[in-house]
């Protein structure tokens, strides 16, 4: 298989460029990540992140033939040759396919990704009804791979201010949680021209989420909640 891989070494001073590789996959190797591991055997200067190799950790999110995907769950038969591998768009590149996710996680921490509840804890866990638990489906499954945020033009334009689809999906996960007691504070934090309202419902986020989630729907739900609160 033929691959074109984005290469950038900040220490060399050279401009980023694509490098061609020919890879022969062994029987049983089907994924783009398998090919990357083979490329790494040919050229150990190539850098990329990976960990679980089964679509759970989100480490190997990258742009594959123009679309953000997880290399470990992308079958090589899905992507026509030459397979072009590039780092996530909109993120500063540290080296080759490794991007700097500092801003991404800064936004994630800003939305307070934990339950806020000052009420005395019950003897056992804080209970939810099945219906309340059901509302978290489609929100809690996010693995923070940043495929969505890296494919969002609004994030490319204002990465330092717009929370981005992944962060907003997580915000909605805690706004919706019946055990959380600071919905008003969470919504007030997001009622900002940059943090939330840079979203233009382009819906690239929903299009590329490897877990099949819909950050666009979560963002719309936050906007509706804000509207209900103000009326």
């Amino acid at each position: 298989m033929r691959f074109k891989v984005y290469r950038f070494d900040p220490e060399s001073g050279a401009k980023p460029a694509f490098q061609d590789y020919d890879v022969r996959l062994a029987p049983g190797e089907h994924k783009v990540l398998d090919a990357l591991v083979r490329i790494k055997e040919q050229d150990d200067s190539l850098s990329f992140r990976r960990s679980c190799r089964e679509g759970v950790c989100g480490s190997d999110a990258m742009n594959i033939n123009g679309r953000n995907r997880l290399a470990c769950i992308t079958d090589v038969t899905e992507v026509p040759e030459p397979v072009v591998l590039a780092p996530l768009p909109g993120f500063p590149v540290i080296r080759d396919l490794v991007v700097d996710m500092t801003m991404f996680f800064k936004h994630y921490h800003e939305i307070r990704p934990y339950l806020v509840n000052d009420e005395p804890p019950p003897e056992r866990e804080r209970l939810q009804s099945p219906a309340e638990r059901e509302r978290l489906n489609g929100l809690y499954e996010c693995i923070l791979c940043a495929c969505c945020t890296g494919f969002c033009p609004s994030y490319w334009w204002n990465p330092d201010k717009f929370v981005g689809p992944a962060g907003l999906l997580q915000a909605e996960r805690f706004i919706t949680d019946s055990r959380d007691r600071d919905t008003a504070g969470r919504l007030a934090f997001l009622d900002d021209v940059y943090k939330l309202y840079r979203c233009r419902t382009i819906m690239n986020c929903t299009e590329v989420c490897p877990k099949g989630l819909s950050p666009a729907r979560a963002i719309e739900h936050i906007k509706v909640q804000l509207l209900k609160r103000s009326t």
Binding site: W157, N158, V193, K195, Y197, R198, L226, L227
Partner: protein, 111 residues
Amino acid sequence: MRLFSGQRAFVLQRLTALVLLAYVAGALLRLALGAPPELAAWRAWAARPAGAALIALLAAALLLHAWVGLRDVVLDYVHPLALRLAVLGAAAAALAFLGLWTALILVSHAL
């Protein structure tokens, strides 16, 4: 009051879009029902208080909608503060001028 609000602009953009949609639908319906009015008939309609009010509402909705849209484009693409303020100022001045011009035309016809 914040200079760049979030929800207020979002709601304003959608409300003005609904007004504009209603006008487009009304205009299409009017054209479907018969030939467009002659200039004299149109001027007479615009000179009446109800006609002038409808045109003023259309102009206000259009200008407010345009302001939110322009502001969003500037917030996305124009990052240097001085340039951003200059572009926003120019856009606001141009829209205010168009609004004032529309008002002057309506008043001059009504008199």
